[in-house]
C-alpha cells in the first residue's frame, strides 16, 4: 500500500466542482491530445454513465475540451474552454451514449481528428480523485494512467520490434517502469505502451519513428504536479 503524503489530503489544486467529473475529465482530454500528437481540428465526444447524466452541472464537457486544448486540471480557462475552442477553430460535438454496461460509470469516448487529418480514437474513464485510465487507443486495449512519461508506438507485429524500440530508450538512459504490447491478430498491427522513469526526449521519438515497420509514435507527458 502506498503511504499517503500530506499533499494527498490537502490538494490537488483544481478547477471545480468535482475531482472525478472535472479534474479527471480535463486529464483524459489532455491525454487524448497527446496521443493524437498534433493540434486537434475536430472532436466527437461520447459520454457514458454518470458523465452522460451530470456533465452539464459538473462542467465535464468544458473540462474535456480544455484538456483537448492542452489545459491542465488547474487551468482557469477550463470554464470558457468551449468558447476558446470555437475561436481556435476546434470543432467539438458532445453526445451522450448508452450501452456500455460493465465499464466504469465515468467513461468517455473521443474521436479526434488533427490538423494534418490524422485520426485517433481514445476511450478512457475517470476513476476517482482525479485519477484516470485510458483503456483504449484505436483498436487496441491499453492501460495508461498518465502518472509517468509514456511512449506509445504502433508498429507491425514482427519479431524484434520491441527490442529495437527499447534499445533506443536504453541508449538515451531512459529506464522502463512498465511496458505492454497488445495486438489484435498475429502479424498485423501491434501497439506498445512504455511508461518510463525519465522524460522521453524528442530525439528518442524521432529515433523510434525512423525505424522500419513503425506506424506511429506519440508520447504523453505525466500530469504536472500542481504547486
Amino acid at each position: 500500500m502506498t503511504i499517503k503524503s500530506v499533499f494527498d489530503i490537502i490538494g490537488p489544486v483544481m478547477i471545480g466542482p468535482s475531482s472525478s467529473h472535472t479534474a479527471g475529465a480535463a486529464r483524459i482530454g489532455r491525454m487524448a491530445r497527446s496521443i493524437l500528437g498534433e493540434e486537434p481540428k475536430s472532436a466527437q465526444i461520447y459520454l457514458y454513465g454518470s458523465f452522460a447524466k451530470t456533465y452539464k452541472g459538473h462542467g465535464t464537457d468544458r473540462a474535456l475540451i480544455g484538456g483537448l486544448m492542452g489545459m491542465d486540471a488547474d487551468d482557469s480557462n477550463i470554464k470558457t474552454a468551449p468558447e476558446l475552442a470555437a475561436k481556435h477553430g476546434l470543432d467539438v460535438e458532445i453526445r451522450t451514449g448508452t450501452g456500455l454496461e460493465g465499464t466504469h460509470p465515468n467513461t468517455v469516448h473521443i474521436y479526434l481528428t488533427g490538423v494534418s487529418g490524422r485520426k485517433v480514437f481514445v476511450g478512457g474513464s475517470s476513476v476517482g480523485g482525479g485519477n484516470v485510465l485510458v483503456s483504449r487507443i484505436n483498436d487496441f486495449d491499453v492501460a495508461v494512467q498518465g502518472r509517468y512519461p509514456t511512449l506509445l508506438v504502433e508498429h507491425t507485429d514482427i519479431p524484434g520490434m520491441v527490442g529495437r524500440i527499447t534499445t533506443i530508450l536504453g541508449g538515451s538512459g531512459i529506464n522502463i517502469a512498465e511496458m505492454r504490447t497488445a495486438r489484435n491478430e498475429k502479424g498485423a498491427g501491434a501497439f506498445t505502451v512504455i511508461q518510463t522513469d525519465q522524460p522521453v526526449t524528442e530525439k528518442v521519438v524521432t529515433g523510434i519513428a525512423g525505424l522500419p515497420d513503425i506506424i506511429t509514435v506519440s508520447k504523453i507527458l505525466p500530469f504536472r504536479e500542481v504547486i
Partner: protein, 293 residues
C-alpha cells in the same frame, strides 16, 4: 517508513518532545519525500496562497454555479453580518460565509484546493483565516496549522476514508471539520491533546452524515454543509480550549465513522438515490437539469 496510524501516537510524540502536532507531521513528510523542510514548507505555503485567493475571489467576484442552484450565500451572509449583526457571533458567521464562498466558487468552476476533497474545500481555509484574524497569528503559524490539519486528515484517510462515495459526507465535510478544529486549536496556542479533543468533538457531532447531493451535483446541500462544518469546527475548538474533553478519543471516533461508513447504504453515498437527493423537490430539480427523465 511507518504509516501514521493514530492521533494518539502523534499527540504522545509531540508531548514527549514538547512540540506541536505540525512539527511531527512535517518531519514525517520530510522522511517520506526525502526532501528538505523548506521544499515541503514552501509547497504548503503555495497551497495556502491559493486558498487565500479562493476566499478573495469568492467574496469579490461571486459567481453562480453551472446549474444556478448556488452562488450568493457568501454575499447574503456578509451583508447581513455587516448591517444587522449576528446571533452566532461575528467570527463564526464570517467563517461560515467564507466556507460557503469557496464551496460555491468550486461549484462555479473556480480554482480551489481540495481539502480533503473538492466538495468540502471551504471549511479548513475559512476556519484558519478566521482563527488567525482573531488570535493575531501570522502566516507561518497558519501554514504550520495546515500540516496539523493534514496529519489528522491522514489518520482519517488511513483508518476510514475521505471519499463521500465510500463513507458519506461524514468523511468529507465531517473530516474537514475535524481537521479544521484540531488545526484551529494549535493556531490559538492550545496543547496537542486539546487539538485532538477538538477534532473528536467536531467529528462526533456529524458522524453518520450521509452524502446525498441533489441531482448528483456538488452544490446542494454541499455548500451549506461547508458553512456548518466551519461553525462546528470553531465551536469544537472553543470547547476543547476551555478544557472540555471528548470522552471518546479521536481515534475511536474515526473508527466509529469508518464502521458507520461501511454499513451506510450505497443510496446515501454520493449516488444521489437517497436522502435529500430523493426528496420531491430534488427529483424535480434533477429532471429540470436533464439529469433524470
Amino acid at each position: 517508513m511507518r504509516k501514521i496510524l493514530s492521533v494518539a501516537d502523534i499527540v504522545t510524540e509531540s508531548e514527549n518532545r514538547h512540540c506541536t502536532i505540525s512539527e511531527i507531521v512535517i518531519e514525517r513528510e520530510q522522511k517520506l519525500h526525502e526532501a528538505g523542510r523548506k521544499e515541503i514548507w514552501d509547497r504548503m505555503a503555495g497551497l495556502w496562497e491559493i486558498m487565500k485567493q479562493s476566499m478573495v475571489t469568492a467574496e469579490r467576484n461571486p459567481a453562480r454555479s453551472l446549474s444556478g442552484l448556488v452562488g450568493e450565500e457568501n454575499k447574503l451572509l456578509v451583508e447581513y453580518m455587516k448591517t444587522k449583526g449576528t446571533l452566532a457571533g461575528e467570527g463564526t458567521v464570517q467563517a461560515a460565509a467564507r466556507a460557503m464562498g469557496v464551496a460555491a466558487l468550486n461549484a462555479s468552476m473556480g480554482k480551489i484546493v481540495a481539502c480533503p476533497t473538492a466538495g468540502s474545500c471551504g471549511i479548513v481555509p475559512a476556519v484558519l483565516l478566521t482563527t488567525a484574524e482573531k488570535t493575531g497569528a501570522g502566516k507561518e503559524k497558519i501554514i504550520a496549522a495546515l500540516f496539523t490539519a493534514a496529519g489528522i486528515g491522514m489518520v482519517i484517510d488511513e483508518n476510514a476514508s475521505t471519499s463521500g462515495a465510500e463513507g458519506g459526507c461524514q468523511v468529507e465535510c465531517g473530516a474537514a471539520s475535524c481537521m479544521a478544529a484540531a488545526a484551529a486549536v494549535e493556531l490559538a496556542g492550545g496543547a496537542p491533546a486539546q487539538a485532538a479533543h477538538a477534532g473528536a468533538i467536531a467529528l462526533k457531532s456529524v458522524i453518520g452524515l450521509v452524502c446525498d447531493p441533489v441531482a448528483g451535483l456538488v452544490e446542494v446541500p454541499c455548500v451549506k454543509r461547508n458553512a456548518i462544518g466551519a461553525g462546528n469546527a470553531l465551536l469544537a475548538a472553543d470547547m476543547a480550549l476551555a478544557g472540555i474533553k471528548s470522552i471518546i478519543p479521536l481515534d475511536e471516533v474515526i473508527g466509529a465513522a469508518a464502521q458507520v461508513g461501511r454499513i451506510m447504504p450505497d443510496s446515501l453515498k454520493e449516488t444521489a438515490e437517497g436522502g435529500l437527493a430523493a426528496t420531491p423537490i430534488a427529483r424535480e430539480i434533477a429532471r429540470r437539469l436533464g439529469v433524470t427523465k
